[in-house]
Every structure is written in structure tokens, then in C-alpha cells.
Amino acid sequence: MTSVTGTVPAGYVGAVASIGAEDVPALYEGAKFYSSAVGDANRSSLTSWLTGLLERNGPVPLRRVETVDPDTPCVSVCVLGSGSALADLPPAGDEFEMAIRQIERLQGVRFGAVYPLAAATVSALVPIVAAAQLGVPLIDADGMGRTFALIHHTAMHLAGLSPTPLVAFGPTGESVLVEAPDGRRADRLLRSNVDTLGGWAALAAYPTTAGLLRHAALPGTVSRIANVGRLLLERTDPDLLVSRLGAITGCRRLARGRIVELEHLSRPSDGTIPAHPSSLVVDETGGLERQLRIELRSEVVAVFADGALAAGAPDLVCLVDVSRGKLATLDSLELGDLVDVIVTPADAIWYSAEGMEMVGLGSHGISLKHPRRR
């Protein structure tokens, strides 16, 4: 195991070599940026759990995937299911470790590193929990670079890696092992069991080696959320915040405007992803004074400016509450709020034909060409 090179002081934006207790708030904020739809229900329980763990066990080394021995077996973890179920039925603490151990037993290996399936939301924090519990480093790479809804919406899947065998370990101590050759089938098999497991489950999937991950995973995504989180914690002026975030994430401000209309559950769900469609109308203040229509599912999936598609999945769209200078979660939006609409490009792989087919606008029932592919 690689030695820890020391902790990086909070507020420093740059390379991260290990994750200590003091990094948790920044990680949490950064993880939220990459999935702004998620509320703050789990914040205190999860961060205090992780902080305590890191304080007891020491910082978790964060390793770039190319610095890890190519033969090192690795496994990804994430939270599967509903965030509010996670708040209602908090983890006993051993779910992630147990899930990984089951795959180890099945495959007869000992995982030398853990990586996040999606470096966003609470799923960005639980791999640190697992790494701390297992005493292995965390790989600075993930499968999504943000969050997508289904477990096969990963770079590994596109690279031909199978998500199975995978184990979902519920808070009640029960688990489900899924072995299916196809990622889509695995997702369906798994999803039908999540409710029974307690609404959420610890998922360990995509067991592979570091060598394969070098080509299959999206590198640098964990240190990226730590850096983004540090910026967000600074609570600076929104204009400065956006330009600083732009330097790290490539994001840009599409428009600043005031929310004038909220349409809730106005239509039946469409597309392939379980979600309630609703939308948000924002009148741009200044500039071209466009009318922005922001389509919401479990996240922001598209932004129309005067009816023209300006951004859409897999772009990551988030809203910054201008008056508070912080990210606005979708459940906190109110009429009259002044918001900045921030568009962050996803990792390049998602704009490939295969990526677009999987997580593009079409998967949300929007049959329009993505602005980046026109």
C-alpha cells in the first residue's frame, strides 16, 4: 500500500493524494455539484460517519489509476436506490464491506483498491468508507464522471467490462448476488430487489483490475469533486465562483434569470428512465432576455433557450442561487429565485454515439439533436 504523502490544507485547489476527515465537507459539496438534484437529507449522518471513520482509521490514500499495479483487483461501490430511504433507514455500517467481501468470496480474490461507480452524490463518499474499512487505497477514477440513473450507464460498460458479478447488500443484512452477462439485464434484476432490501442497498460491482480500469474508467474524478467542493465552500461572489469552477470543470454560465414558473408533474413519465418530468421556466435577466425552459427529471436533463435546445443530457446542468451564492438543489427552488444556470460538459465519452444513445436526450424522451452533435 502506498504511503500517504500528507494532507492538503482545506481551500487549496490542486492534486489530492489522500482523503482525510477534513476533506469530507469539500467532497460532499463537490459530489453535490455533480448531481444537484439530490437533497441534503443524508448530509449530517453520512458525513459524520465518514469523518469519524477517517479520524479513527486515518486518511484514505487516493491513487491515480496508472500508479496502481495493473494486476491489482479493484471493485466499484455505490449507493443503489433512494436517497430518502437511506435517510430513513441509515446504514448499519458494514453494508459496503460485506458486499465487497461477497464478491471476493465468489471470485476468490482480494481487492487491492476500491473505486466509485459514480463520483457524485453520496455514492462519491461511500467508496471512501469502504476503502477505510478495507484498508485499501481509493482509485481517483469513476465510471460516470457524474451520476446516471442506471448501473450500466458507465464508461466501463462502454469499454466492454461487465458489471457482474455484483452484490447488493441491504441495511437489513440481506443481500442479492446478480450474475448476468448483459448490463441492462443486470440493472433490471437488481432494481426489482432494491425495494425488498429496504429501499436502498450498498452495491459492489464491476470487479476488474487496475490495468483494465486505466482504459475503462474516467480518471481524476474524485480529486475533481474535492477541488470543486473547496471552491463551493468558499461562498464567494457567484460571478467569481462560476469562473473558478469553469477552470476546474469547464463549466460556463448559460444565463442568469428569475424563476417565473414551476410545472410539477404535468405529464406522464416518458423515456426509459424512471422519473417524474417537470419543468422550470426562467426569464433571463439582462443579455438576450431569453425565456429558459429547464426540464427536470431526477436531474436537469435539458435547457431550452427560447425553445432552442441550449444544453441537455449528458451535459451536467446545475443552478446556483445567486442571492446565497451556493448551489440550489431542485427541491429548494421557489418562484422568483434568481439563479445562474451552469452547464458543465460531461466526460467526452458520453458524447460518443454509444454514450448518447445510453444517456443522451433520447433516453429522457427528448427526441432532439444534442447541441454538441448538430
Binding site: 414558473e261 410545472e263 416518458d270 417537470s278 425565456q291 425552459r293 431550452f304 427560447d306 427526441s367 432532439l368
Partner: protein, 552 residues
């Protein structure tokens, strides 16, 4: 060149007047004059992308799932220069209307099945003549329901959205939108004559049609012609209901007076009392110096009144005024006065009636001369005299002319029924027409009882008046009276004895007025009493201040 108008494409404005789009709500109607060449039932955005300009798109299925889909459809429609987008009401939201307005894309919402609507629209677009005929029939139905001129113009203006229509009499807009007659670039003027009773031209319907609609002018003319019978009926209706019209006109005229009086009130001038029409009344006094312009109120034109740059008032008054004229007399006078001049008002004012003519040229008296000449027989029959004022501009000018006409009518009374007096020919002597003759006669009875009891009082008073009129010259007075100078001297001496001390400077003016009044009264009432006066019974002495004399 307009050829075969039936094949000209129908416009959006025409389509929204007939079912099924007549029932649709226009969340935004950008340009009703845009033509619709084709109807597309768009199920997908791909279909929308293939639309050509001047297409009407009915959204359906995937393209009409609401939220983002309508926003995206509107944007695509804007990109493709589509004429309008039709969508189910459930899909549209306030923000859709806002976006349609922002993109200036017509957006109509319907409550019925989009497929059915698209089919019906396709039929209408393919047979524009039939659609137009349907529209005209529906318009005719709505016009037939109207009972007022304003209602008819209201239907026309709502039917021809974006094309203002006005009813014009002479050069005055009587109803509708005045913008129709204002010269504007790229606007074609469509005019349709409206005839009154006896096929006399009564007014014109004028529409200002934007020049870029090829079928528009012809269609508009057709609709205007359709409106004529309703307009004539409405006009006849208001004429028939003469009593309420008379009250309406009277109230409106009082309003007009009040309007003209307002600036004076501010200056601390007059009271708000109704004008008496006497030379001393506040309105008349103010009209003399009225120079400020007052906008002609819209309600005056609704009555058919014209108040232009040269308003000449005519006052019709009974020779022997007895207060406000009875209604039946008003009715007869109105019938006679408005014969052939249906647009001229006739308003009961005090003991007479006022009317006026408005023209552009203040020197053009021909219409008034004709009217007065035509009315003379009726004036004789009803014992009326006619006073004509001068031509003045605007509302204050009209009121001034009314005051002048009234004064002239008073002067005309001297000459008996059917007398016509033009104010231009009256001059300051008109003041004498306003003397309260009976009151002054009473003064004479009380103060000069000796004189009034004298048998030769007429001769004495005439002689004193003649001497005073001639500035004290006995020879001129004798010449005027046709008697010898000594006779004059003798009469003056007797008159002095009876109290007519006219050579006392302090009493001269009072006695002059008194003599004038007595002579006027005796002349007007019964001719001269048999007193052995110089002129003899029934004959006025020569040289009275009045130019006209009762000669009958």
C-alpha cells in the same frame, strides 16, 4: 392585378373567424394577414423541421407532450417561418404564450381533437372561396344582430382585426376607429357608400387595409357592403326614436356648453349654470373671446354631429316666445328642418331650437342659405323666425355662433314670422332687441302716468324719440316724422309738461330707452292706437332704428 380571387390563399385572420379556429384561443396572434398555404399535422419534430414557410402546424402526439416540446416546437416553427402553431390547450402554459409572443409566432390553443381540427383546416385551406363565403355568412349573421351604429362598427372592427373601419359623414368620423381615415403609408383605403332615405348619400364606410394582403381589399369591401343594411336600419331606428334622441342631443349639447365653459370657470369667470342664451349669459360672453381649442368629444360624433373648422349655427325661434316649445312642435320642426339634411342636429334650447352646419370654408354660406330657404315655408307655418350666426372654429366657435344666431333671431322677431336675420348684418343695434319691453313699459306706467294717460301719447313719444335719435335737431326730426317743425316744437313742449324732460342730461338716456321701448311695443303689438298720430294706424313711422319694419 387581381385575377381569380377565389384561388388566393386564405389568411390566418380569415381562418380564425370560422370554425374550428373560431373556438380557439389565440394566445398570441402575430400577423393575421399572413397567408396559410398548407396545413401540417406534425407528430414529430422531424416533421416540423421539414415544414415550408406559410404553413399552419397542428401539433399532435410526440410534438405535443407539453413543457419542453411546445417550446421546442415554437422555436422550430419560428425557424421554418411557419404562419401559426395550433396545439391542445392542455399542453400550453403561460410561459408558452410568453415564448410565442417573444418569437412573434402565432399560437392558438384548441379544446378539440387536433387531428379533426387539422382535417377541417386542410379542407378550408384547399377551398379558400368556400371558407370565405362561410366567414361572410357568419359575419352577416352577427351584423344582423346589431341594433346600433356603434354595434355594427364594433362587429366590423372585430371581424376585420388589424384593419380599422370608420363611418364617415362629410369628413367627420361618426363611429368606429378614426385611424381608418388617417393617411398612412402602405395602406389601401376601401370605401363603401351608405345611402340614407331617398337614396341620398348619407355616409361612407372607410377601411384602411394594409397593402400587402392581396385578397384583403376585396374581402373588406364585401364585408363593408354586408354591413350597409344593418347600418341603415340602426340609423333609421335612432331617427324613429325621436323623443329619446332629442333628450340625448339636448344633454349632449349641455355637456358641450359645460366643456366650453370650463376654462372660464378656472379663471373665475362664470357659473356652471345652463346658458340662457341671452347676450349677458356666461357662455355667450365667453364665446366672444374663446380662443383656446377644445377637442371635439367623441360622443358628439356618435350623435352624427359634425364640429369642424367652420361651424355656422342657425337658431329657430317662435316670434312670440312662450317658454320651452311643446314636444309635438319640436317634432314637426325637426321633420321639416331635417328634410334632406338628416345629418344636421336640432336641439331644443330655451324657447327655440338650435342647429348648425360644419364645413371647411368659413365663407361658404350656400348650404345654410339652401337650408334656410327650404325651411321658410315651415317657419311661416309655425310662426318662427330664423337667426344665423357667423362661422367659427371648433367647439368654442360653435357656441359663439349659437349665441350670435340667437341674437340674430331676436332681432328677426321685429319682422315677424319667417324672417331671416344673419348676424353679420345685425351689428351693435342687436342690443336693443334684448330690452325687456314689458318691464320698461311698466316703468313708464308708474313714473310717467300723466303721459301714459294722455290720448296723444303715441305722437308725443314718437316725436321725442325722433328728436333724440336726430341728436336734438328739430328740422331733421320734423323731416323724419313728416310734420311741420312747429308741430314738433309744440309736441315737445307738451311732452315736457307730461314729464318727458328729455333735455335734462341726467335723464336723457333713460328717456331715450323708454321712448324706444314704448314705440317698439306699440309697433309690435297692435299697431298704433288711434291717437291722431302722424303715421296713422298700423304704419310705422319712417326712419326707425331698425332696418326692417313690420309692413303687414
Amino acid at each position: 392585378m387581381r385575377t381569380r380571387p377565389s384561388t388566393l390563399p386564405i389568411t390566418l385572420g380569415e381562418l380564425v373567424r370560422i370554425p374550428p379556429l373560431a373556438a380557439a384561443d389565440g394566445l398570441h396572434l402575430a400577423d393575421p394577414s399572413r397567408r396559410v398555404e398548407q396545413v401540417v399535422l406534425a407528430e414529430t419534430f422531424e416533421r416540423l423541421r421539414r415544414c415550408t414557410p406559410h404553413v399552419l402546424v397542428v401539433l399532435h402526439n410526440e410534438a405535443a407532450t407539453g413543457g419542453w416540446s411546445l417550446a421546442a416546437a415554437l422555436h422550430l416553427a419560428w425557424e421554418r417561418n411557419v404562419t401559426a402553431v395550433v396545439v391542445s390547450r392542455t399542453v400550453a402554459s403561460p410561459s408558452s404564450a410568453a415564448l410565442a409572443e417573444r418569437l412573434n409566432m402565432s399560437l392558438l390553443v384548441i379544446d378539440t381533437d387536433p387531428v379533426n381540427v387539422a382535417l377541417q383546416l386542410a379542407g378550408q385551406v384547399s377551398a379558400p372561396a368556400a371558407a370565405r363565403a362561410l366567414r361572410q355568412a357568419m359575419c352577416a349573421e352577427r351584423l344582423a344582430e346589431q341594433t346600433s351604429i356603434r354595434g355594427v362598427l364594433g362587429v366590423l372592427n372585430s371581424e376585420l382585426q388589424g384593419i380599422p373601419v370608420a363611418l364617415v359623414m362629410a369628413e367627420t368620423v361618426v363611429a368606429g376607429r378614426a385611424v381608418a381615415v388617417q393617411p398612412r403609408p402602405n395602406v389601401e383605403r376601401v370605401e363603401v357608400e351608405v345611402h340614407g332615405p331617398g337614396e341620398r348619400p348619407w355616409g361612407r364606410l372607410v377601411a384602411a387595409v394594409p397593402a400587402h394582403g392581396p385578397a384583403a381589399a376585396e374581402q373588406v369591401a364585401k364585408l363593408l357592403r354586408l354591413a350597409r343594411p344593418s347600418l341603415q336600419a340602426a340609423w333609421a331606428h335612432t331617427r324613429l326614436d325621436s323623443s329619446s334622441r332629442a333628450e340625448h342631443e339636448q344633454a349632449a349639447f349641455a355637456m358641450l356648453r359645460r366643456l366650453a365653459a370650463q376654462p372660464g370657470d378656472e379663471a373665475g369667470g362664470g357659473s356652471g349654470e345652463p346658458a340662457s342664451g341671452r347676450p349677458g349669459d356666461p357662455t355667450a360672453a365667453r364665446c366672444g373671446d374663446a380662443s383656446g381649442d377644445i377637442d371635439v368629444p367623441a360622443w358628439s360624433s356618435e350623435l352624427g354631429w359634425q364640429i369642424g373648422s367652420a361651424n355656422r349655427a342657425i337658431w329657430l325661434a317662435p316670434v312670440h316666445p312662450t317658454g320651452e316649445p311643446p314636444e309635438e312642435v319640436t317634432h314637426l320642426v325637426r321633420a321639416s328642418w331635417q328634410r334632406g339634411r338628416t345629418g344636421w342636429p336640432l336641439i331644443v334650447q330655451g324657447d327655440g331650437w338650435v342647429s348648425w352646419h360644419s364645413g371647411a370654408d368659413p365663407d361658404d354660406v350656400a348650404p345654410v342659405r339652401r337650408a334656410v330657404a327650404a325651411f321658410r315655408d315651415s317657419a311661416a307655418a309655425h310662426d318662427l323666425v330664423i337667426g344665423v350666426g357667423r362661422a367659427h372654429r371648433g367647439v368654442p366657435g360653435l357656441l359663439r355662433s349659437v349665441a350670435e344666431a340667437r341674437l340674430a333671431a331676436h332681432v328677426a322677431r321685429e319682422r315677424g314670422p319667417a324672417a331671416v336675420q344673419w348676424f353679420d348684418q345685425v351689428g351693435p343695434q342687436a342690443a336693443l332687441a334684448w330690452l325687456p319691453i314689458s318691464e320698461i313699459a311698466q316703468v313708464a306706467d308708474l313714473c310717467l302716468s300723466d303721459l301714459m294717460n294722455a290720448r296723444d301719447r303715441v305722437a308725443l313719444v314718437q316725436t321725442v324719440l325722433a328728436v333724440l335719435d336726430c341728436g336734438g335737431s328739430l328740422s331733421q326730426a320734423s323731416l323724419r316724422l313728416g310734420v311741420h317743425r312747429n308741430t314738433v316744437l309744440a309736441r315737445l313742449s307738451r311732452a315736457r309738461q307730461l314729464g318727458l324732460t328729455f333735455d335734462e342730461p341726467a335723464q336723457r338716456l333713460a328717456l331715450h330707452v323708454l321712448c324706444y321701448t314704448l314705440v317698439s311695443m306699440w309697433t309690435e303689438s297692435h299697431g298704433y292706437p288711434q291717437t291722431g298720430a302722424a303715421g296713422g294706424p298700423g304704419v310705422a313711422p319712417p326712419g326707425w332704428p331698425h332696418t326692417g319694419r313690420r309692413t303687414a
